[in-house]
Symmetry: C2
Subunit: 401 residues, 2 copies
């Protein structure tokens, strides 16, 4: 039988990163391409303890069907936590627990975008979200990211010129893949523009708690007096990505529609996981755990930047990061980025080509993304040394021509 | 702000059953409206044991990101199990682990149906699946279910007359909500018709292992020599619904497209759950557990049918069931079914009005669905007695007029 797929998914491709993972599975390979938390980052003992208690005291609750909105104690706790710690959430907002933050992108797009509608996103941006928008046949419109976040002049131009813009998708903190943080001025400007043009903002904040230096900047959602921001939070980087638990704070009518869509998608999120997340946040030292993560990653981030400065600068340029898990490096214009990435794989180092994060993957691109949370310090040093040697060879070969 | 939702979800409503659940939450109410496994059905001790072992020996594996296709050992085991036990799966098929079987409906529709395409389904059918089809703006076309399954003459008429039919959705074993099992002859006929008209079959089998009497009938998927059947399996009724783990066996190109869609939906299914399911199937007496479930539910099903015969027949008629969790009762034509269901709620017994399961909820309908797995025997007796008294009153009032 010849299989004919729907228009919305016909041209959809597997994530380029997941293709690179095939090479990265080779234990000889130094993978700087992942975005996994460090093995040291998991509160394994605590999760085992919590899980044993739940499965001994309330096993039926953890294994039976549950409600689509999410585990009530976790929802209530997160509402208070987000309000108190980040000033997020008004009386017109609601909170839904999702199967990872990825599902927020899915449910928001499904609820708000017709096929052919436009989603404005940062260029570059997180490939998982871009593919989620693509899977509903949304038209992607990229707006360049600068050292202080999205270019708001171009954002306004696009809001003027593009038709049927339904969402502005941004990752204001330690953006994936650029590592860049949006300034408070730009956050306010993005909010004002969205309000002016009647478009909702989808604010994705998976790394917000992983700030290693500088001061926290208020989220766009905390400015939301008009009910125009959908905020996406996640346990993936601060507890566990494998349990697939995220949460969304958004205007109640939007959450209600997302709940109806979630009923048809997966009924509800794994309930054992939700109970574990709730117990970990409320019965353990969650803030201490976050401090420990920041301390762990601060060291690794600094080490990575030291290595880049030693082995790859000035051939590459990059923005120093204040948090998150990624650094984006820019090659000289005369170096073929894809060739560099392929040659790196041959030398057993994996990085992600920057074009994977663009709305148009065929656009000329000189960047690549590296991650420092997953590899060991030894692997980081080995990997960056190899990349440095390769780059030096390519640059010197160029100079000889 | 005025929220404008996408066309596909604009008219989507919360499941009628979930609305009824609001009443059912009252502890005074006897709920015959759920579809939850019995509290006795959960292998709590085994799950606690397995979970403790995993979280002690391989915690990072259970908490880290995993692959979209599903936990490799579980996939491999299920492939062999389905092949050996049910003759399901060819060399052209693949298997994907999903976040409950509900996600199979979501991913299959997303992959195969454009907006406006037609999905043929049994009438009545499972409301969760119908809402999933609706959420992609598929047009639903219902074909009546008889005591031996879908009416295949009407099915053929619809295949001839309906435009852009992409899927035939059936629940051949102990159908939800009718309780009916499709005969082998009809399964062969449905397969032949699908082949002839170039339409794929979506075969949903959550209750197949819960047969209490009679002989197993081969699944439609086991007849699939042409790569036209998508088979949906689930751990919800045989292990736990709260862990949200299902699996799909389908032609490889279809599974590949579902994998790409799943990347954008929830990245992967909760990995701890997948490991628990694998360990339970392979290190414990899974077949003995299924025997125990059948024995538990066989008694409850028989008790329910005895109660119906004692307190409600001949006012109602119903098809005796050989398995599953539901019985569908038909009221006399002169009784207003919705009035009956509402009055039952007033007397603190919840059942599900049959129209909730129709493609057009406004169609005239005289049936209601009852579940016997969730309530205790005492609740079953109390509930059916109350329904019987109510029905007698309504019928006698009618006779007096």
């Amino acid at each position: 039988m010849e299989y004919i797929f729907s228009d919305r998914v016909n041209t959809l491709k597997p994530s380029a990163i997941r293709e690179i993972f095939k090479y990265a599975a080779d234990p000889q390979v130094v993978s700087l391409s992942a975005g996994n938390p460090a093995p040291d980052a998991f509160p394994c003992k605590e999760v085992a303890e919590i899980s044993a208690k739940i499965l001994s005291e309330r096993p039926i609750e953890a294994l039976q069907y549950s409600v689509t909105e999410g585990y009530a104690p976790l929802r209530e706790h997160l509402k208070g936590y987000m309000k108190q710690k980040y000033g997020i959430g008004t009386e017109n907002d609601e909170l839904i627990i999702t199967s990872g933050a990825q599902q927020i992108m899915d449910l928001a797009t499904k609820s708000l975008c017709n096929e052919g509608d436009t989603v404005i996103c940062e260029a570059p941006s997180f490939i998982g979200s871009l593919n989620s928008f693509r899977s509903y046949n949304a038209k992607l419109c990229g707006v360049p990211v600068e050292s202080d976040g999205i270019n708001t002049e171009i954002l306004e131009e696009k809001l003027k010129s593009e038709k049927n813009v339904k969402l502005i998708y941004v990752i204001p903190n330690f953006q994936n893949p650029s590592g860049v943080t949006m300034s408070f001025e730009k956050r306010k400007k993005v909010y004002e523009l969205a309000k002016q043009y009647g478009v909702m903002i989808l604010e994705d904040n998976p790394y917000g708690d992983l700030r290693y230096s500088g001061e926290d900047i208020p989220s766009i959602k905390s400015l939301d007096k008009d009910g125009i921001v959908i905020y996406s939070g996640s346990f993936s980087k601060v507890l566990s990505p494998g349990i697939r638990v995220g949460w969304c704070v958004a205007p109640a009518p939007v959450v209600q529609k997302m709940v109806v869509c979630k009923q048809g998608s997966d009924v509800h999120t794994n309930i054992w996981s939700q109970m574990v997340a709730y117990e970990f946040m409320t019965k353990y030292d969650f803030e201490g755990h976050l401090d420990r993560l920041r301390s762990l990653y601060r060291k690794k981030a600094q080490y990575m930047m030291d290595l880049l400065d030693e082995y790859m600068v000035p051939y590459i340029t990059y923005d120093k990061i204040d948090g998150g898990l990624f650094i984006m490096c820019k090659l000289p214009d005369y170096i073929d980025m894809l060739k560099f990435c392929k040659e790196a794989v041959m030398r057993k180092v994996c990085v992600v080509p920057g074009n994977a994060f663009l709305t148009d993957e065929n656009e000329l691109c000189h960047t690549f993304r590296i991650n420092f949370s997953t590899p060991t310090d030894e692997q980081l040093e080995k990997g960056i040394k190899i990349l440095g040697e390769l780059l030096k060879e390519l640059c010197e070969a160029k100079e000889e021509n």
